[in-house]
Symmetry: C2
Subunit: 489 residues, 2 copies
Amino acid sequence: MADDKKLTTRAADFSAWYNEVVLRAELADYSPVRGCMVIRPRGYGIWERMQRQLDTMFKDTGHENAYFPIFIPESFLQKEAEHVEGFAPELAVVTHAGGKKLEEPLVVRPTSETIIYAMYAKWVQSYRDLPVLINQWANVVRWEMRTRLFLRTTEFLWQEGHTAHATLDEVEEETRRMLGVYRDFMETYMAMPVVTGLKSNAEKFAGAVRTYACEAMMQDNKGLQAGTSHNLGQNFSKAFDFKFQTEAGGTEFAWNTSWGVSTRLVGGLVMTHGDDKGLQVPPLLAPIEIVIVPIWRSDEERSRVLEAAERVRKSLHAWERRAPGKLRVHLDSREGMKPGAKYYEWELRGIPIRMELGPREIEKNQAVLVRRDTGVKVTVTLDSVAEDCADMLHQIQDAMLVTARERREKNSHRGGMDYKRFREIMEGEGGFVYAGWCGSAECEAAIKDETKATIRVLPDEEFRSAKTPETCLKCSGKAEFEALWAKAY
Amino acid sequence: MADDKKLTTRAADFSAWYNEVVLRAELADYSPVRGCMVIRPRGYGIWERMQRQLDTMFKDTGHENAYFPIFIPESFLQKEAEHVEGFAPELAVVTHAGGKKLEEPLVVRPTSETIIYAMYAKWVQSYRDLPVLINQWANVVRWEMRTRLFLRTTEFLWQEGHTAHATLDEVEEETRRMLGVYRDFMETYMAMPVVTGLKSNAEKFAGAVRTYACEAMMQDNKGLQAGTSHNLGQNFSKAFDFKFQTEAGGTEFAWNTSWGVSTRLVGGLVMTHGDDKGLQVPPLLAPIEIVIVPIWRSDEERSRVLEAAERVRKSLHAWERRAPGKLRVHLDSREGMKPGAKYYEWELRGIPIRMELGPREIEKNQAVLVRRDTGVKVTVTLDSVAEDCADMLHQIQDAMLVTARERREKNSHRGGMDYKRFREIMEGEGGFVYAGWCGSAECEAAIKDETKATIRVLPDEEFRSAKTPETCLKCSGKAEFEALWAKAY
């Protein structure tokens, strides 16, 4: 794919647009291993900033990091019946090692509940050892049939929190707390609004009692499950005989939670903010926030402009921004490339601010700042350019969330929904539909069969409609819940 | 193993001492998977600080992070003859996935040269695309027969840098640069002095042209290879047809380097600094630098002391230390545990400073600081306790390096070495022996057979003896090199 070929537009083919943006912005590439991707530096730089921020938020809520083996004995997975049923079809299995056939095959972790709770059972004796609040940053493998860069890959990077507590109340509280951390991260840092809520039984994690999720809407109106937080009850502690002495002197099985987000978030970021020019990275997650493009037409101008541009770069970098640290600025001094070609490339890569600096600007002690999100240009004085950039970055971050939220609301449907209208929406432009559900697995399955839409969440109170739906979308029986329906990734 | 049982001493059984320290300081634990360990939060906290610092140093030298797949097609490894020969016996192989037998087995990466250079071959067309300066933080698997916590585990965490350059000069420069970064990190942050130099052909990385290494001496006088940096020449670029257009218009194979350090460093830290009381963590890598142990004898004293201790903790935490960031302080307010038991535990865990705070100290507006490395106690006023702690941490960091360097020099032997004396040393107390080597693989192999000692490095100039050895330790032929010999992990 030549770099000068125009991007497919979102309207023409959203899926082709997505792949082109990911590849041409050099976020990731296909690898020679089926379904596995390579995360290139521009993509990894975004993931790294996500990691740093989430890690800080996990530590602020009392969690520590640890690391557990990538291999899990096959027999461990079989100890929790629902868990093995859910994951068995997706396992990659090591049968040989060190030149020999293994006595017991080892599974490459698809998730680590089993090995982690087996260790906790060894470490925890008494209520005094609780809670255990551990997170792990790791790679996991799920053998998927259809893969998409970032969204669904055979191997992906993620974090998985695994906690153990003395009471049911505490696990429910922890499960909700981490859902809140995810939501805060997604909205504040990714500028990606989400609906939070409970998963239906059909959609919950294999082995969980309750699964909560953050659901975002992509620009093709499909839902993306962006993070999940599971109340595991005592399911795994019973499977792994993870007991503790209570304060009262008895013994009880421990209560567990697990929660995770993955490199899928990078895909969510692309599909939330990208446009027909390419990627848009929210400033807080952008490895480069400002790119300086110097403009010259002669050799004489070239050295003068480059010298001034380097001075500006240094002054921006040296400026003390209170938070979130130094301005991240790059000077694109490549030769043999026209400014227009540079603009095009940096727009494709989604850098929030472009600074244009030519002989005329320098003479007037000015620079032109161009916002990636709106395309608006402003001329500023070089005396206060760092402050102006920092302000503009704030504005962009805020505006991106507002834009994404407005788009989501525009494509959300509430009230007056019958099944005919619902099918029209799902066959047409798609979107989020809030509608009544009787609570039966049959209605849920029939809707999925007929429309491919699934219950994304049973939304938390603040997202529910002012007027509670009274009847089930499918059977017209009494609605037990308001459900958020959508087609999803 | 009960926590109140005394540690085995280093003199009695160094190997048992090491395992006990790692387990009882809760750095790591054995896992149910043969040869794989669990890195517990106290161990991971040290690794995490190592990572942060190394990552900063890699970025300061122009490198970016990326991520490549954990699976490598078996055929890729076979493309570089020496490489596959070196790694074949240690491979873990996925033969089944998604419920089916794979057409081509996938190897779990033991190192990533093959898959990475295959990708670079795709990304790089011209000299303008060079250099490529990429690092990866990842897990790797090598099926080892004998494993030791941190030192040699089937799965371990590491970073692997992989760079591509246009000229031989540049790769040699990069190889040496990263060796220097490692040395700087090990000495400045780990307080672990190292000898740098070139590996012999027998000991170099499978597929490298030249391997440089940092070699440290543990307290049992054995060597530990702590980091390696490889000049790969064009070996891998030829195997993977990784060519580029030169500035002159021709085509040439690219030149590559790779370099890595791993969680083995945590083991090196334990064996460099630990004593018969347990672990000692250099302040710059300590997740907790200062532990406050409040002392009380009655309930009345308890609340008064705890209140004061919490005030001190807050004031230490809030104090603005210029570098390396906030003081990392923990208040141990556990009840039902005597101060002495707490001292014992925190000494075992290697916290650099213990602050004792009782009613008498509080009354006098004082605190007692106890250095973990020397055991020296000083009484300081609470008015300047943060500055005093920061100063003491500096002193401890410096002293730990000095102590380790003195120990190494005391156990290094130079000059007047004949083979009889060499064998006595290797059969006895061990240590580093600097001696002449004719350069023949036969002498090297014979020495290894007879004494288990190997050439750790051909030391860089600054480490060589003032008087160059003239004859080979083994054959008494003309010495071509001065070699550093030792038994090693």
